[in-house]
Subunit: 344 residues, 2 copies
DNA sequence: CGCGTGTGGGAAAGCGCTTACCAAGGAGTG
DNA sequence: CACTCCTTGGTAAGCGCTTTCCCACACGCG
């Protein structure tokens, strides 16, 4: 069983069916050309008998195009990315595409290398869900690479901010955070702390900005030493909360973490320090990943329809190209839960 | 920019560098043949100038083999699968493989269709992480398909039970559940309920079996009406708990859900019904997905090193083939947390 | 100085497909 | 019934690579 029986080829099928290669090819895929039903059935029967599966690579080189979508994410085990991936895979499969995936581990050097490597697959579509950063110098090289990819017929879709000159699924991070701030103020909160990602991370920056602007509308501010910058992960959130606790945050009423996994980490840290989330301190996050409605207290957050985001990305990619790059804006909606009870 | 400038080919590079196709090919990939340094540099410079990326499909057809790993999961947004996927992707990338992914949505018909389609990619490795079921008739067709794949040189690795005649990363579901039961009895628990998946799901069945056997060792049993069968998801767990509550479980001390996401759902249902997890009722799960240490109360569970499971799967696939299928057993370890406080 | 040997570039034959292009037969038309 | 047009099977030329030969050349040796 080990040995090299090679897969049956179209040639084998044609011989088995007693027809030419061309006829075999035409009967097994939806070619424009019509083929006699009797022939087609013969070919299909032969294919089934032999267990023939068309070699996708060979098809790709013959046709000069593939049916693959390449997806680049930051970290597939992060629910944010895995939900987006679920949407992408679902939509891609519906259109008969296969998806290949690569993870950047949130490193933009690595992202560049991956994009470069992925181009070798000649995918029809390249979707970047890795969080964009601003100041990186590799950003320029990335744009060059992506532009080259588009100019050879590929489609690029980026998810998040419209920083790059490509089709974009736009997440309203700023607006969502701003509305969240407004609602929290409405609930009676006045003194805040913020756990943010590194400043160059666009997603994080926009959320912080929106939150602060939302507060500013009510003449509220967050002192600089109550805004800490950490990793965009659960452990980052934990560490951020620890840092805040060291600064002394006895009078802080609510901690806003720029994403849910960070909020979850922060809640653990706060709890360990004796500040009970939802009771002696409120916590809010961002994303509405599936688990946060089941934690205790359930987390107040800003919902992004992550699965839809993934679906939109492939819809965008499969739609006709437009000049200058289309944007699909995705709404974010504030969800108040028990982690931020109204202050009497 | 829209239009069809096609990607530069090796031919273009060769012309640009003033060498033959063969020399260009040899200098750009680690071929066995040596090529003069001066030539190689010329070729590399030309490739860089043109922005050449080798066409992986063409390479695949020329070489007759690819560098891809195909991964089949049940649901990528489930942390169980996404953690495994993270391991697979990490290990695959380290070995220069790209991974393509497909999701079965836990439907074994669909799994069969996917495997069939994935074979078209001629991947070197096919990893099945979708939960195996027993009685399905499509199981046979699956085995046939996978066997055919192996006989044409591919490698198959399945994760979970050794039900299929292929290399396997074996999760000790039975043993983990059994040890969990023992520990819980040690903590003073005597009256249990179980929320299980559908009976045909092997993973679920083994965990229930192990748990019951663990109890039996201490002469404890779980009455049949205290074992409910539901979906293997968060909502399934919720529904399962609701069902148990309807049966009346006032005297039940601990609910064991066969996986963590179900346990989390069950906790929410119990809490809504006024049974506070970790206080008026204990809950235990299985898997140790990342979030459960951060929920309240932190969940007692059986840890599976999910990332490692993914890594092992690709190691197994890349190791020399052995007769009859290798198994890599992965240990599961009981983690007691606050959701199962010791009963005085 | 003749010969064997080794080195490394190039020509060309594939790899498994798709798809012009060609040709043969049947249908339609006056 | 002669002619054109349409249909549809087959032939063969690619697609972008790798790899097997072949060959020219340089070198070492007796």
């Amino acid at each position: 069983m080990n040995a090299g029986v090679r897969s049956p080829t179209l040639h084998d099928v044609a011989r088995e069916a007693g027809v030419s290669l061309a006829t075999a090819s035409r009967s097994l895929n939806g070619s424009a050309r019509k083929v006699n039903d009797a022939y087609r059935e013969r070919v299909q029967a032969a294919a089934a008998r032999l267990g023939y599966t068309p070699n996708l690579s060979a098809q790709a080189v013959a046709k000069g195009s593939t049916m693959t979508v390449a997806l680049v994410v930051g970290d597939i085990s992060d629910p944010y990315f895995s939900s987006i991936a679920a949407g992408v895979i679902g939509a891609a499969e519906e259109s008969g595409f296969i998806v290949t995936m690569a993870v950047t581990a949130r490193d933009s050097e690595r992202e560049l290398a991956l994009v470069r490597a992925l181009r070798g697959q000649r995918p029809r579509v390249l979707i970047l869900a890795g969080s964009r950063t601003s100041d990186e110098p590799s950003q320029q090289a990335l744009v060059a690479e992506l532009t080259a990819f588009e100019s050879t017929g590929g489609r690029v879709v980026v998810i998040s901010q419209h920083e790059l000159p490509f089709d974009t699924v736009l997440l309203d991070n700023y607006g969502g955070a701003r509305r969240l701030a407004a609602e929290l103020v409405g609930l009676g909160y006045r003194r805040f702390a913020v756990i943010s990602g590194v400043p160059s991370l666009l997603t994080s920056r926009d959320r912080v900005l929106g939150f602060l602007d939302g507060l500013a509308e009510h003449d509220l501010t967050v002192p600089a030493d109550r805004i800490v910058h950490t990793e965009f992960t659960r452990d980052g959130g934990f560490a951020g909360a620890v840092e805040l606790l060291e600064h002394g945050i006895d009078d802080v009423e609510l901690v806003f973490a720029v994403n849910d996994v960070m909020a979850v980490g922060a809640m653990s840290a706060l709890r360990e320090a004796g500040r009970i989330p939802g009771e002696s301190i409120a916590v809010a996050g961002f994303d509405d990943i599936p688990t946060v409605r089941d934690i205790t207290p359930a987390l107040t957050t800003v919902q992004i329809p992550l699965i839809d985001v993934g679906r939109h990305a492939v819809e965008l990619a499969l739609a006709p190209r437009t000049a200058g790059g289309t944007e699909i804006p995705v709404e974010t909606t504030v969800v108040i839960r028990e982690s931020t009870p109204a202050r009497k």
